[in-house]
């Protein structure tokens, strides 16, 4: 054993181990996850040549007295997204596109900004340096206007060149935390040990560069909120249910957090569970981890973990545990709309139990945060709820 045993006895994990076996069997039946399409890791020279080819096309258009234009996939259009159970949401192979023209008053600025960011990427790749999206924005905040513009253009470029954002030498700022039974070495040689007491380790910014991952974890628990994560840390959850790994994206996860979850799954095939609030927002966050997001669907195969299971807080738990009504919150109109939207998504069709839970929520018109469980006791979550769920297979 790599770590001193502190957790429950081995029988505690029987159900988990069986679950893991079933997952592995499913993997063996279906083969490895497809890696076709979407973005890939490209070498620096490949990226440079791709950018130069774009410039050449532009110059050729100009020489013919034609206005050059970029052809961009419509990443955020449902008509260009399909669902596959093994991958999640991903872009279709022949998707609709839009043109960013240089001779249109409406789009000339965006055309110029795409070129600007391409030139910045070119320099980063050439010099083998990295920058975050935020760094790029601040190189000329007046020109870009706002961060969202930069983010979208970077995603468009990644999709257009069919290379990962990392290959463009653009990092996403990590905001996630990880704790538990895991150690690895970062690209620069830094050794990281996530085993801890009351503190957690920040998710690294270079997931692709980490190596020598080692763990004995029986499960990975993705926690929606930082508050819940900290609470579990305070309750020494990682040690009580050791060996395990806890990770949080502090709400909607950033790219690196998603990449790390994916990497843990690819490397160890350890069961992954989510602990989210029993509300539409939490369910949506869970869906992002499991099936991916629309905007990043072109990178779905690198980011999604379709094997994720919903551990809690289930709407049916609220009734089962007799959570008092004053701990519940009525669904707002926005919640209703989001819930309806999730119910209409293609992946819900193959998750009847999830659908049922969402229908319970819709019928009751109530939601609850994980903190609602504190009505039973302040440590009910870490002492009773989670251990029982994990021991007896209370996931869907």
């Amino acid at each position: 054993m790599a770590f001193a045993p502190m957790g429950p006895e081995a029988s505690f994990f029987e159900v988990l181990d069986r679950h893991r076996e079933s997952l592995l069997a499913a993997l063996r039946r279906g083969g490895q996850e497809p890696r076709s399409g979407g973005s890939r890791l490209a070498s620096s020279s490949e990226v440079l040549v791709s950018i130069e080819n774009i410039i050449q096309d532009i110059i050729t258009s100009l020489a013919r007295n034609e206005a050059p234009a970029f052809t961009i996939d419509n990443r955020s259009s449902w008509e260009n997204i399909k669902f596959e159970d093994s991958v999640g949401l991903q872009m279709v192979s022949h998707c609709t596109t839009r043109k960013i023209k240089s001779d249109s008053p409406k789009s000339v600025k965006k055309f110029a900004l795409i070129l600007k960011i391409l030139s910045m990427i070119y320099k980063l790749v050439q010099s083998n340096t990295y920058a975050t999206k935020r760094d790029i924005y601040y190189t000329d905040s007046q020109l870009f206007g706002n961060q969202t513009v930069v983010d979208n253009i970077i995603n468009d470029i990644s999709c257009m060149l069919k290379v990962s954002r990392r290959s463009l030498h653009i990092l996403s700022t990590s905001k996630g935390l990880i704790a538990g039974n895991l150690r690895y070495i970062e690209e620069d040689g830094t050794k990281v040990n996530c085993t801890c007491g009351a503190t957690a380790v920040a998710v690294p910014s270079n997931i692709q560069g980490i190596r020598n991952l080692v763990t004995d974890a029986k499960f990975v628990l993705i926690v929606e909120k930082d508050a819940t994560f900290q609470r579990l840390l305070d309750d020494n959850f990682c040690n009580k249910l050791s060996p395990c790994i806890m990770i949080t994206g502090k709400g909607v996860p950033d790219l690196n957090t998603r990449l790390l979850v994916r990497k843990l799954w690819d490397t160890f095939h350890v069961p992954v569970f989510t602990l989210v609030d029993a509300d539409p927002h939490g369910i949506e966050i869970m869906c992002i981890y499991k099936y991916g997001s629309m905007s990043m669907s072109f990178e779905a195969h690198r980011l999604t973990v379709p094997a994720i299971r919903w551990l809690g807080l289930l709407p049916s738990d609220l009734k089962r545990l007799n959570v008092p009504k004053d701990s519940l919150i009525p669904l707002t109109n926005r919640d209703q709309m989001k819930l309806d939207s999730i119910l209409r998504r293609p992946y819900v069709t193959c998750q009847p139990f999830w659908r049922k839970e969402m229908e319970i929520m819709a019928d009751s018109k109530m939601k609850a945060e994980i903190q609602a469980l504190t009505f039973l006791s302040s440590d009910y979550l870490s002492r009773v709820y989670l251990p029982n769920k994990l021991k007896f297979g209370g996931w869907i």
Partner: protein
């Protein structure tokens, strides 16, 4: 201005008024036809150092057909009492066979003795008058020829037969203001008008921002053109001192300080120029110590057209219009002073719109230029940073550049050309190109008519122009309500939005505005002028700038080749009445 010029003015005015009032033409039709005006001067046998000038005005066809010739002669003679001219009609009634339309060509002659210098001045004044006529009557052509002691020159004023299709819209785009009723001072002696005088301003920038979008300069001059009823240029009785009291006080027009402009009258106008001579000209000087304006001679000119028309609930008689015209030529200043507040309000509103458009166009152009700079710099950054020689070489070869510096220059140029081309295509009255271009439905560019349907545009009043007309119009009832009130504020005027429609006019009001619109038929500045005038020279001289001396007797080819920059200037105001042309009838 002596006998010859005065006689020509009066005769032409009379002919046009006669045509409009007496000839049964379909509603919406524009004044159409060709007039030959020739002056032959020989040494006078009766006066020393004088020329005996024989002026002939002839019509080739349908313009003035149907007139009772002798009656016309009598009437015109009575309007020229001060002219010691012998007015003759050289074609007898019935002596010319009528064509299928039942109209008859005619020719009339008058003789005057004048000093040579006076004749030269008269010729220049006549040319300016003709230019102003064709600015609003596009289907009228004048063939003006002068022969003095054997030296012959001729010029044609009127719409040319373009053989080429413009690649972009080079017209100005006037903004029509809302009509206002003018007050006639009680002490102004005159006829008892059974109607009202309506002033409608129109303003535009020249060159059009849509053409010179990369040169959206400051306003360097202001030119005002005065028109009376039926689109006839007003020749004020004080024409030699064109800046009347009303216009001398520059603040009487509008609040120039609002635009950071300091306007002073420009009296340095010379007759011997090939360009349209404004009736009033101002020069913009720097205000508040802004030196850049003074240092920028190539600014834009703000063109202001003031149309004074006559509206009546009763059918307007020919002599009534003649009387109105006479009233205006002698008392325009007093009328404008009396109506100062409404005039100022209407002009201010109109100029506000034009300059706001100019401001928006300048902003859009700035954004475009900024974007192009970013694009070019980004490409250069990649090109100069590349270590792949094949890539660099390919780029340079593609643009046929010897080095990166030349490449950058060419890159700027070609980007500018491509984007300006598209920028101009957003003009609503553009023409289709010869080569079929892919329509960009995402951009929503409008389908434009081809050159052959230019008349159709003029005749049927293109939608964009119609919207402008409607935008500026006020209901006649509203105008009357404002008769004794202050000048209407823009909020009281017709809404600005293109989709706003004019409230229905009373029948007479509608007819009056239609008549007004019909009078303002499209016209073109003379093409007979020597076409060496470049846009740069024009802007330097401009509407109100210094003129280029030009010999009056210099011959010119009526069909000189057209250069793009010349066409641009010559169409300075020539499209004015195209968009003022009447809507197709109720």
């Amino acid at each position: 201005m002596e006998g010859t010029a005065v006689a020509v003015f009066e005769i032409l005015r009379f002919l046009i008024i006669h045509w409009k009032c007496n000839i049964d033409v379909s509603k919406g039709a524009l004044l159409e036809g060709q007039l030959e005006i020739s002056i032959e001067g020989l040494h006078s046998k009766h006066q020393a150092n004088a020329l005996h000038c024989v002026t002939t005005i002839a019509s080739a066809g349908s313009l003035f057909g149907g007139m009772v010739l002798k009656k016309f002669l009598k009437e015109i003679q009575s309007t020229l009492p001060g002219i010691s001219a012998k007015l003759t009609w050289t074609s007898e009634e019935g002596s010319y066979p009528q064509d299928m339309t039942g109209v008859t060509p005619f020719q009339m002659t008058f003789e005057v003795d004048e000093k040579p210098r006076t004749l030269m001045t008269d010729c220049l004044v006549i040319k300016h008058f003709l230019r102003k006529i064709i600015m609003v009557h596009p289907k009228v052509r004048f063939n003006f020829s002068v022969k003095v002691n054997g030296i012959f020159s001729t010029e044609i004023f009127g719409r040319p037969n373009f053989g080429t299709i413009e690649s972009h819209c080079s017209r100005i785009h006037p903004v029509l203001g809302h009509p206002v009723i003018l007050f006639i001072p009680e002490d102004v002696a005159g006829m008892d008008l059974l109607g009202e005088l309506i002033l409608t301003p129109a303003a535009a920038l020249c060159p059009s921002p849509k053409v010179s979008s990369n040169q959206l300069n400051r306003i360097s001059s202001v030119s005002i053109f005065l028109y009376g009823p039926l689109g006839l240029p007003l020749i004020l009785s004080t024409w030699e001192q064109p800046v009347t009291t009303f216009f001398k006080d520059t603040s009487s027009l509008i609040d120039w300080k609002k635009y950071h402009l300091c306007i002073v009258p420009n009296l340095d106008l010379k007759l011997d120029r090939d360009l349209v001579l404004p009736d009033v000209s101002y020069r913009a000087e720097s205000s508040e110590g802004d030196q850049s304006q003074n240092m920028d001679p190539q600014g834009q000119t703000l063109l202001l057209f003031l149309f004074v028309d006559f509206h009546s609930a009763f059918p307007v008689q020919q002599m009534e219009i003649w009387g109105v015209y006479t009233l205006l030529t002698t008392h325009l200043n007093a009328i404008l002073v009396e109506s100062h507040s409404v005039v100022q309000g209407s002009i201010q509103f109109t100029v506000d719109q034009v300059l706001e458009q100019h401001h928006q166009a300048a902003k859009a152009q700035q954004k475009l230029q900024a974007s192009l700079s970013v694009a070019v710099n980004s490409i250069m950054s990649i090109l100069t940073g590349s270590t792949r020689s094949s890539f660099r070489k390919m780029c340079l070869q593609t643009l046929q550049a010897a080095d990166t510096q030349e490449f950058e220059t060419k890159l700027h140029k070609v980007f500018r050309e491509i984007t300006q081309h598209q920028f101009l295509h957003h003009c609503s009255c553009e023409v289709k190109q010869l080569t079929l271009e892919k329509k960009d439905s995402a951009q929503g560019t409008e389908d434009v008519p081809d050159n052959s349907s230019r008349e159709l545009l003029a005749g049927t009043n293109g939608q964009a122009e119609n919207k402008r007309l409607k935008r500026g119009s006020l209901r006649m009832e509203e105008m009357r309500a404002l008769h004794s009130a202050r000048a209407p504020s823009p909020s009281e005027a017709a809404p600005h939005r293109p989709e706003a429609t004019a409230a229905p006019l009373t029948p007479s009001g509608r007819a009056a505005l239609k008549a007004h619109g019909r009078a303002l038929a499209p016209g073109r500045v003379s093409l007979g002028s020597r076409l060496e005038v470049t846009e740069r020279a024009v802007r330097r001289e401009g509407c109100g700038g210094r003129c280029r001396p030009r010999a009056a007797a210099e011959g010119s080819s009526p069909r000189a080749p057209l250069f793009p920059q010349d066409v641009l200037w010559l169409q300075e105001v020539s499209n004015l009445s195209e968009w003022l042309s009447p809507s197709p009838g109720p």
